[in-house]
Structure formats: C-alpha cells, structure tokens
C-alpha cells in the first residue's frame, strides 16, 4: 500500500522534505507514526496532529490507502 505523507511547519526541517511516499502494509495511524519515529527519531519529541484525507483523526484510525498530513501548532503572530 502506498501512502502519501505531507509535513508542515518545523516538521519539514526534521524530514527535509514536504512530502514523501511510504510503501508498507500499515493498519493504523499509530503504526505509521511508529515507522516514522524510526526513520526520524526527532519527530517523537514534537507536538502535531495527524490528518487523513484532510480530516484530523485519532491515532487508532485505520489507514485507507490515502494521504496523511502531520500538522504542528504554530505560535507566531
């Protein structure tokens, strides 16, 4: 299964990209995050929400062959 992952804000500084594809048979958002934490250990200390198909979702949400976005809060004004 191919999943497109989009990164926002300071997360792109950890991943060094704004988007990428992951090929894996992942069942939940949590499993995807665990995979990303191995690839990018620094992600683990960051706060962000996860969206699937442009909707914010919970960690236990099933992944359905689609687009995931990692959204950190911004404080600047």
């Amino acid at each position: 299964m191919q999943i497109k992952i989009k990164y926002f804000g300071l997360l792109t500084e950890i991943t060094n990209c704004q988007e990428e594809y992951v090929n894996d048979s992942l069942r939940t958002v949590k499993e995807l995050l665990n995979l990303l934490y191995i690839k990018y250990p620094e992600l683990k200390g960051k706060d962000f929400q996860v969206a699937q198909n442009n909707s914010i979702v919970a960690l236990e949400t099933k992944i359905n062959n689609t687009e995931i976005a990692l959204l950190p809060p911004f404080s600047g004004g």
């Binding site: 929400q49 914010i56 976005a69 959204l71 809060p73 404080s75 600047g76 004004g77």
Partner: protein, 350 residues
C-alpha cells in the same frame, strides 16, 4: 455614506450589511504581524467598535511586517501607536487601546464587551487563555498563527463549533515550537494570514454561510500551496481559567547588549545577583535585588521605566524577567552575557 459605497453597491452587503458592520464589536489581541493587517482592514471596513490589546512596544525589527508602525513610533506602545494611525484611517468608529497584557484576571472583563475575538498573539500561553475565555463567554475566535513561511487560519467556537482545544488539546512540550523572534518570519506572510482573519471577521458579522469554522486553513508562502483540514468537536470542557504553565518558549524575553542598554532612555539596571557577588557593577540608575527576594520586592522598581536585568552571565536574569512579567512588568530586557560581558565592554572602552 460615500466612505463605504464600494461595500454598499455589493449585492451581498448593501446598506443592511454595512449597518451590521458598523454595529460590530471586535477585540484584536496582539497588534503585531497579524494584528496590524487585521486592524487596518477592519477599521477601513467601518467595524463600529474595535479593541486593541498589546503590552509590547514597537521595535525596529517589527517594521519589516507590522505595517501600522513606522520610524516615528519606535519605542511606543503598540496598542496606542496603532490607535493613533487607525484614527486617521477612519475617524468615524470607536477604537479602544489597552496597553496591557491579557491575563486570567482581566480576560473575561475585556471579552464580554465584544462580539468577536481575534487571536493575533505570538505565544501559546495567550492562545490557550483566549480560547478558554472565549469558550466560557461563548464568543467566536478568529485564529491566525504563523511559522517562517507557513500560516494557519481558523474560526473557533463559532455557533458551538470546534475550539482550539479540539485541534490542539494541550500546549506543546517545552521549547518544541520556537517563535518568530527566534526563527524569523517572511514579512508578507502575516499580511496574508491577517487579511484572511479580517475576512473571516466580516463573514461572521455579515452572517455569511461559509465561515472557516471546523476547518484549519494552511498556506505556504514559498510554494503557494493551500490545504484545508476539517476538525471535529472533542469533548474537552473548559470549566474555569487556569494559568497555563510557561512550558514552551512562549513568554518572549528581549535581549539587549550593554552598548544599547547604556543608551536606552528612561531605564534602570536591576542586578539580581547576591549582594556579595563580584565583580561589583558600576552602572547608572542601578539597583540590586537578589533573585530570591525579587517577587516580594518589586515595589522598589519603577514600572514606567525599561528594566534592564542582569546577573553574572545572563541566566538567572531570565528567570527574574519571567517573575517580573507575571507581575505585569512588561518592559524588561535581559542583559546579554551578564556583568561579565559588561566588564569586557567597559575595559575595551577605556
């Protein structure tokens, strides 16, 4: 009125819509990068009553993006300076400037006088305070936030819709998210995000259907990409206003070097070292209050003056500034490198 004729000829606004705008009461918190464009357009649009809260003063590094200010307003309070500029832009509306910091003690008092709250602040502590106070008083919040080249816009707590805490339930972990003064920001970005916030405010006032409620709009100025995410309502309940721990790097501490510090008018030097520490400081308008006594001794300080806080190397002085900020001393500076740096500078001078 001729001033609003371009609004009035729009079918979706008309005289009726313009009357709604002139009855609108909007409180803008933060007259910075986001607050400036929000204020500029809402005032120009004729929103009848506008409140501005900002305790901060205009600095040269603000002028790259905070378009209501100029060289002549450097050093002035932002809320007051913004009001001066805006009065000329539209003298027919009421503008209330509050040169104060929003806090758990004054938030509800301010909010109850307005219909819509605009969040243009630069720290998480105030963002959560705004959210919680708005939820308690049932006021919509038009939210904007920026990071380097990216911005977010949303309308929270609108007609029982999702709140900021439905999106981000808790303030982030320690120093995980830096602010503009630490990482920089593209000057145009708050202009884009702020005008989008102003647009949402007008849509709420005019009761348009498609308000950005339950949605998070994201914009990237570098790629010109936009994305919108939907947010569902969580069951988080705000019961009362509680102080939010300053865990993140949210209360901004301004640094100043000794050369600038000595040139600063209306200032005093506050040394927070223990009385027996050496080297002794030889500075003008100098007072020494050890850090452990500071919170009980602030009556010795003059709130109307800039307070330049120093210690041996500039670390304890940061803690001191945090304590002072809690007591509403909003014009504090941390002396870079502490007394040690001062000694080196004075030696060089001789």
């Amino acid at each position: 009125m001729n001033r609003y004729s371009r609004h009035i000829i729009l079918e979706d606004i008309g005289t009726e819509g313009q009357n709604k705008i002139s009855k609108g009461k909007v409180l803008v918190i933060g007259a910075g990068g986001l607050g400036c464009p929000v204020l500029q357009y809402l005032v120009a649009a004729g929103v009848g009553t506008i409140g501005i809260i900002d305790y901060d003063n205009v600095e040269e590094s603000n002028l790259q993006r905070q378009v209501l200010f100029g060289t002549s307003t450097l050093g002035k309070n932002k809320a007051l300076a913004a009001k001066e500029r805006l009065k000329d832009l539209n003298p027919t509306i009421k503008i209330n400037a509050f040169p104060e910091r929003l806090s758990i003690t004054n938030a509800k008092e301010y909010f109850c006088e307005y219909d819509i709250i605009v969040d243009g602040t630069d720290n998480f502590e105030t963002r959560y305070l705004i959210n919680d106070a708005a939820v308690l008083l049932n006021k919509p919040v038009v939210y904007g936030a920026i990071y380097k080249f990216e911005g977010q816009v949303a309308v929270f707590n609108y007609k029982e819709g999702p709140t900021y805490r439905c999106l981000f339930p808790k303030p982030p972990k320690e120093s995980s998210i830096p602010n503009c003064s630490e990482v920089g920001v593209l000057g145009i970005l708050p202009g884009i995000i702020g005008t989008m916030q102003a647009n949402e405010v007008l849509k709420i006032i005019l009761d348009f259907n498609e308000v950005l409620s339950g949605k998070l709009f994201c914009f990237n100025a570098k790629t010109s990409q936009t994305s919108t995410f939907s947010i569902s309502k969580s069951n988080y309940k705000v019961k009362e206003l509680k102080p939010i721990e300053s865990k993140s790097c949210n209360t901004e501490i301004k640094e100043i070097d000794i050369k600038e510090a000595l040139q600063k008018k209306d200032s005093q030097f506050l040394d927070v070292r223990e009385l027996n520490e050496i080297p002794k400081a030889e500075l003008p308008n100098y007072i020494q209050i050890p850090l452990r006594q500071l919170s009980q001794s602030t009556h010795k300080l003059d709130k109307s003056k800039a307070i330049i806080v120093l210690c041996q190397t500039g670390i304890r002085s940061k803690t001191a500034i945090q304590q002072l900020q809690k007591q509403n001393f909003n014009n504090c500076f941390n002396l870079k490198g502490g007394i040690i740096a001062t000694q080196n500078y004075l030696k060089e001078k001789i």
